[in-house]
Symmetry: C2
Subunit: 237 residues, 2 copies
């Protein structure tokens, strides 16, 4: 039987959970999240679709695992998740870590959406979050304020923000601009001023580095101000 050309078990490394997840990430990176199907992962691995089920429970588990791989990358990009015992520069330290997460997300444009659809945190993700909490704590913020801070940061904590698409259509057209000016005058006026449509930004409308950092700093500065206001009395627990 070793003569049949179709035998795949020996011309391929054995299937493992790890290889399935890596393959899933690569597929999503190259072909997009819609192409991430059990059947296409199997095809990529030179294996029958049903074989995957021996190594992962179902598709959700593959998505969970893919997110875990992403946060493993974040850990590397971040030079580990160590939190200094005491850190006066919590703000810049946190800023750097979040921007590191962002560079990883830019490599995996599908990640924001998938992260967002997860119901619970895996270990790698939780360890990242833990490092954020720890860094804020090192800055003397109370756990209550830290909690609020993390809600305020939202997905920005993971290096991305969700934005909405552009107004309807090819807005180079003069007729379209005219119609926009009639229907949404304020929006049209703003676009006329800021017009920096950026089709390369895979994370959404104009979501380039500058805008991300602007929003991030607005929040971090606000938190710093709140901490200072809190300083007179000791940080709660």
């Amino acid at each position: 039987m070793s003569s049949t050309a179709e035998r795949s078990a020996e011309r391929r490394a054995p299937l493992t959970r790890g290889r399935v997840l890596e393959s899933a990430v690569e597929l999503a990176d190259t072909a997009g999240i819609d192409a991430l199907t059990i059947r296409r992962i199997a095809e990529r691995l030179g294996v029958e679709p049903m074989s995957l089920y021996y190594h992962v429970r179902n598709k959700e588990a593959i998505l969970d695992g893919a997110v875990e791989l992403v946060f493993t990358e974040v850990e590397q990009a971040s030079g580990g998740f160590a939190v200094p015992e005491t850190d006066a520069a919590w703000k810049s330290s946190l800023r750097t870590r979040i921007l590191a997460a962002r560079t990883v997300m830019l490599r995996h444009p599908w990640a924001p959406g998938v992260i967002d659809s997860r119901t619970d945190l895996g270990l790698a993700t939780a360890r990242y979050v833990d490092s954020v909490v720890g860094t804020l704590r090192s800055g003397g913020l109370s756990y209550d304020l830290i909690h609020h801070a993390m809600h305020a940061l939202g997905s920005r904590m993971f290096g991305f923000t969700q934005e909405l698409g552009e107004p309807d259509d090819e807005s180079g057209d003069a007729a379209v601009m005219e119609q926009m000016a009639a229907q949404v005058p304020h929006l049209a006026a703003m676009l006329a001023v800021v017009r920096h449509v950026d089709p390369d930004s895979t994370l959404g409308w104009c979501d380039d580095q500058f805008e991300f950092e602007f929003g991030l700093d607005l929040i971090l500065d606000g938190l710093e101000r709140l901490t200072r206001a809190d300083r007179p009395r000791p940080a709660r627990s």
Copy 2:
């Protein structure tokens, strides 16, 4: 032929684009976004699946339309999208409008995800965004700052924020807590303090009204500060 019981055309109002979209919204509200399929919408309307294609181009168009219905509700809840010519109280005015959007989103838990997946704005959505731009402008912010502000607000502008699920599992368990304390000590410490797990919040982890308003106000206050700093020189058009 009028004797056959299966004739549906006369016992049902005629199919229209509007009825399709309303039906889609109701279905998503009651059965969840995963249940929103062409086939189930048709079933609900007492019609064959293929009939829908006469009134809408495809499923994406249905999702587009459903979002438009949501923002029509936002307009009603907001008492219209009028923008005052001049408004010293831009901050409270914007705050109120965004919180109105939020109450609508809470009625349609599927909306955040769908909104997020749209590639371009429909008219109703654009008119909402326009009213936000207009309100900020009435407060004297420059269009540049308004642009940054809208990125900073992100999905909060639409009344929601994306958050991540809870750490792994049933964290009432003492053994689980112990393991968490070992693996993610800072996170565990925070949770021990703030523990207000809210399973009813359909918009995500602890994303209750308070946290939403905290984050919103952090941003609005930051913007206000930036505007004041900008005041000496005239607002850049």
